[in-house]
């Protein structure tokens, strides 16, 4: 698998790790311009580390849903083009704003990913990719509603959190339900458990139908 341009594997303390080039955000180890992308703190980082075939080459326009305090989205903005970061909880957005202040292509939006019409006046159409990591029930619905932002063959990279859908159910059953619903809008290209980096998470690569 080839990594998108702007992401490299690099030795930090003798260990090969993912890294991107940009302003440090959360005290991660750095080496010159390169800063470690910790797969244990990032679902997308784990997808890359685990060798999932992520169809990105670098420079893409991206909508990031569930940006939280900006840990992962900071790395995305390091290798992508215009990056729109949606997060609903006010406190993490406080940190997200400082991450955005250090980058020229990151646009923070305090909005609810379940209601794309509240940011469709800001986020452009025909985006190359949606990256989704939302911890709410109805993750497939969020992905479907936001497909409106994607270009015809735009991709979805999602980390599906089983416990957000149903804490008591078997994660496999939850994934099946979520994937069924996703298939109404997307063609699923690859799925993979994100263990050992993230328990009860399924990484999904899909393309808009």
């Amino acid at each position: 698998m080839t990594l998108p341009d702007g992401i490299v594997r690099r030795a930090f303390d003798g260990r090969e790790r993912l890294a991107t080039s940009g302003e440090p955000v959360y005290g991660e180890p750095t080496d010159g311009q390169w800063r470690v992308w910790d797969a244990g703190r990032s679902k997308l980082g784990a997808m890359l580390e685990l060798g999932m075939d992520v169809p990105l080459s670098g420079g893409e326009s991206v909508l990031y849903l569930g940006a939280a305090s900006g840990t992962t989205v900071s790395h995305v903005a390091d290798f992508a083009g215009p990056t729109y970061a949606v997060e609903f909880a006010p406190r993490p957005v406080r940190d997200l704003v400082s991450v955005a202040a250090d980058r020229s292509n990151l646009f923070p939006l305090l909005k609810d990913a379940r209601q794309p019409e509240t940011y469709a006046h800001v986020v452009e159409s025909n985006l190359d990719a949606i990256i989704q990591d939302v911890a709410t029930r109805g993750q497939a619905t969020v992905a479907a509603r936001n497909a409106t932002f994607l270009d015809e063959d735009g991709v979805l990279l999602a980390a599906i959190k089983a416990r957000s859908e149903d804490v008591t159910a078997d994660p496999e059953a939850v994934y099946d339900r979520v994937l069924d619903e996703l298939e109404e809008t997307y063609e699923i290209l690859e799925t993979r458990s994100l263990e050992p980096y993230h328990d009860d998470h399924l990484g999904v690569v899909a393309r808009k139908q």
């Binding site: 909880a89 006010p90 406190r91 993490p92 646009f107 469709a120 006046h121 800001v122 911890a135 932002f149």
Partner: protein, 298 residues
């Protein structure tokens, strides 16, 4: 407002373009950062469009690079302000709402009691409950006395209805302000804890021993003055985790519950993100405590 009606907007063509009316920059002169911030915060659109190229076509920006620069300045400032106002406003609004709900319910109950007593002499079917009194509201009075009773019944009905509206407001707001407390204690109890502490930040800074006895201040001070035993629980007694535990183990349940509630309050205040792990740990812990007594409940 249509872009064409706004001074300072320079349309590329003479015809106003309905397709672009809902762009965040529609109708804004390029230098109007305040307008852009407002529009990002409160605008909406049915469908996204190729805003960067439209902005260049419409003369909002000379190039897409300039467009993104303007977008960046405006989104950062809009997000910063939205965070500030939501953080400042919300928990204090919640505190007012939960106190008002309690007052309205208490008033409805008191007035219902008085009204029911009177109504019992005039209407055979009047039940001495809030619901009974509310059911009288809307009738046509036949005498002056009935007129007064029915007017009071209307007041009870209005108060009870306002209490219900306040409850649903609290149920909508609490998950946004304190997602972990909301999930752990339920919206209303979470809001009461925030209100008793005097705000989410104040609650986050209280030790869990204090959270455990919030709402039992009378008993606590009596104990400190040398009278009576120390209270095991305050308002958290209303939760199933405490009330549903055998009295012998309620102290342990209240302590475990309060410990996790204060962690939840700290996560809600300092991070704002939902964390499933603490909820799971608490469920396990309560199950263990309740299993100590046969059958757990009662």
């Amino acid at each position: 407002m249509r872009p064409s009606e706004c001074e300072g907007y320079i349309p590329a063509g003479a015809v106003p373009d309905r397709m672009t009316d809902d762009a965040w920059f529609a109708g804004l002169p390029p230098g109007d950062t305040e307008g852009a911030i407002d529009s990002i915060a409160s605008g909406s659109a049915e469908t996204p469009r190729a805003w960067p190229s439209i902005a260049v076509d419409k003369g909002y920006a000379d190039s897409e690079t300039e467009y993104y620069d303007r977008l960046r300045v405006a989104t950062i400032e809009a997000a910063r302000r939205a965070v500030r106002s939501r953080e400042q406003a919300d928990d204090s609004q919640l505190v007012h709402a939960v106190r008002s709900m309690d007052d309205t319910e208490r008033l409805a109950n008191e007035l219902a009691e008085r009204t029911a007593e009177w109504a019992g002499t005039l209407f055979e079917e009047a039940e001495p409950t809030v619901a009974g009194v509310r059911s009288l509201a809307g009738r046509e009075p036949q005498t002056d006395a009935e007129g007064h009773v029915l007017a009071l019944a209307e007041q009870v009905d209005a108060l009870a209805e306002e209490a219900e509206t306040l409850r649903s407001f609290i149920e909508r707001q609490t998950p946004q302000i304190a997602p972990n407390l909301d999930a752990m204690a339920g919206s209303v109890l979470a809001a009461r804890l925030i209100a008793l502490a005097g705000g989410l930040e104040a609650l986050a800074k209280k030790p869990s021993g204090t959270v455990q006895v919030l709402g039992a201040e009378d008993a606590l001070f009596a104990h400190l003055a040398g009278h009576g035993t120390s209270p095991k629980h305050g308002i958290i007694f209303t939760h199933e985790y405490v009330r549903g535990t055998h009295p012998d183990n309620r102290g342990s349940a209240a302590r475990a519950f309060a410990g996790k509630l204060s962690i939840a309050a700290r996560i809600d205040h300092y991070s704002g993100e939902y964390r499933e792990e603490i909820h799971e740990e608490l469920r396990d812990r309560i199950a263990t405590i309740q299993a100590r007594t046969d059958g757990g409940e009662e």
